[in-house]
Symmetry: C2
Subunit: 321 residues, 2 copies
């Protein structure tokens, strides 16, 4: 299936995490065919990196039982897309590589309390796990990039504040362990723009080209403001989820992940090219909604529509409805 060819180079990469982060956060299981239809529609909208699932035991997360199949189909159908999978450990990484994932992402907690609660491993043990995964990725016939998202980088619901020095020290250790990109995640929706700017500035100073994505949540409504601050600090890869699905929404009306539709609108309106088109993105939203009837989707731009006179960053007008 061909993807949108925009003819201009995107300035930011929107990494769509909905099929993984979104679908693992809800209690229902989306049928494989519906997942694939959604991923097709996302690719059609111009998204170039899609996290399609998580290689975790099916008994722990039945929503992800078909992850290998989803990876295989997605890579086959979308040669131009970075089909990414989350892997919690070496075993998951092996399975993901066997299925043909083009990029792996591992969450590693900056909070020791969160790490123990989440994966029952210390940060030190996770670092060793990551070291092995990096070695595994390097010895593939074609290099498969390994990304780590440092979770609870902006605060933790178990330990409260997470010292910024801890975050940067961990990120540095991960880069030395052979990770290609280290991003920062506001797992619990505690980040504020000043902190985001400060921490990403430090990350970029410490890691240079290995400084990775901003994974920000909208728990307290600051998602886009935090993305703006990250952008101003030089971040160019942003995780987001269609319809704001996932990211542990705290309460009704509270979207967890930053909403892809609103993030794309913000950047394009600002004149920052995302490579994503909003009209087919809204089609993808409808495909998602059809695959999960009755599920709440978030996002203001889909409700309000594009403003009169809107132009994309590259000067194009939206196609007539």
């Amino acid at each position: 299936m061909s993807t949108v060819n925009r003819g201009t180079t995107p300035e930011v990469l929107i990494s769509e995490v909905g099929p993984r982060d979104g679908l693992q956060s809800i209690s229902r299981t989306m049928p494989t065919e519906a997942k694939l239809a959604w991923i097709d529609a996302l690719a059609q909208a111009g998204l170039k990196e899609i996290e399609v699932g998580s290689f975790v035991p099916a008994r722990l997360m039945p929503q992800m039982a078909d992850v290998a199949e989803v990876v295989r189909h997605s890579t086959a159908r979308h040669p131009g897309i970075t089909v990414m999978a989350l892997v919690p450990n070496v075993r998951g990484a092996e399975a993901a590589l066997a299925a043909g994932a083009r990029k792996l992402t591992v969450p590693v907690s900056a909070s020791e309390a969160h790490s123990m609660a989440n994966v029952r491993k210390t940060r030190e043990q996770m670092l060793e796990e990551v070291r092995q995964m990096a070695a595994l990725c390097r010895c593939q016939p074609t290099h498969v990039p390994l990304e780590v998202g440092v979770s609870t980088a902006f605060g933790c619901t178990l330990q409260g504040a997470v010292p910024e020095d801890d975050v940067i020290r961990l990120a540095d250790a991960l880069a030395h362990a052979g990770v290609d990109e280290v991003g920062l995640s506001d797992t619990t929706g505690m980040a504020n723009p000043a902190q985001v700017r400060r921490l990403f500035t430090r990350l970029r100073r410490a890691l240079g080209e290995r400084a990775g994505a901003a994974h920000l949540h909208n728990t307290r409504g600051l998602g886009l403001a935090n993305c703006l601050a990250a952008y101003e600090a030089g971040v160019r890869t942003f995780d987001a989820s269609q319809g704001g699905l996932g990211g542990c929404p705290y309460a009704p009306g509270a979207s967890g992940n930053v909403v892809t539709e609103d993030l794309v609108f913000m950047f394009e309106a600002m004149g920052v090219r995302t490579g994503v088109d909003l009209e087919p993105l809204l089609v993808a939203r409808a495909v998602l909604a059809a695959g999960l009837p009755g599920e709440s989707l978030y996002g203001m731009t889909p409700e309000a529509g594009l403003p009169l006179g809107f132009t994309y960053a590259d000067g194009r007008r939206p196609s007539p409805a």
Copy 2:
């Protein structure tokens, strides 16, 4: 009634517009006593400027029929608060001054089409009206500041894009007409952070100390990102509405005005002192909800609560729940 004494000087002024902008946008009428209870609670939370109503004919806007009474009571009860009223014309200004309003605000459209549709006057006619209001304010025993909010400053649902030169030219003419402060309003929720930064930077360059408030909407989810951009451009007064009430919400789930609770949380978390305390602000929210049973209120921070380990910009911890 005493207001919160924080002991530190706020760095930004949050101007609460809910009792005017919020209450005039809903079809129900809030009883006068409920309005006053809400205003009391807002003052109690540390808000220092409150737009309590609109001096418009009661037959056009029955929600505001008690505005003179609300102004009189509010000024009597809250000597330390800038009790502000919206006035559309000289007649409204006379009534507001007679009731004892401490500051007047007038909307003037940057879009000719919006001006004609809204007040059936051209921008030139509104400028003349404002000139007379400024003269009226100046000859009061104590000077009553006159603010203009330039509406549709970031785009118009009737004419689409509004040239930035038109906005700055109008703002400049308003300042020369004797207005104390000229702010910019994203009446239709079309602003983006790059535009907000650009336009407020130009406004401040053109008007100096007379450059006024940012009145931003959350129609497409960009409310706080736009506030952040305005703050970075030097703006220090921000309009917001408790529970996001008002501002013409476009659709269910779409809050119109920037939500006071989320805005205060963002600034305080960033280390920017607002003078507003979140715990009594949530009490005020409950007072509002009690006065308008069944009305939808927006805001993520009230749902999620304050994060573990949160401290105010001045270093204080929230009081235990």
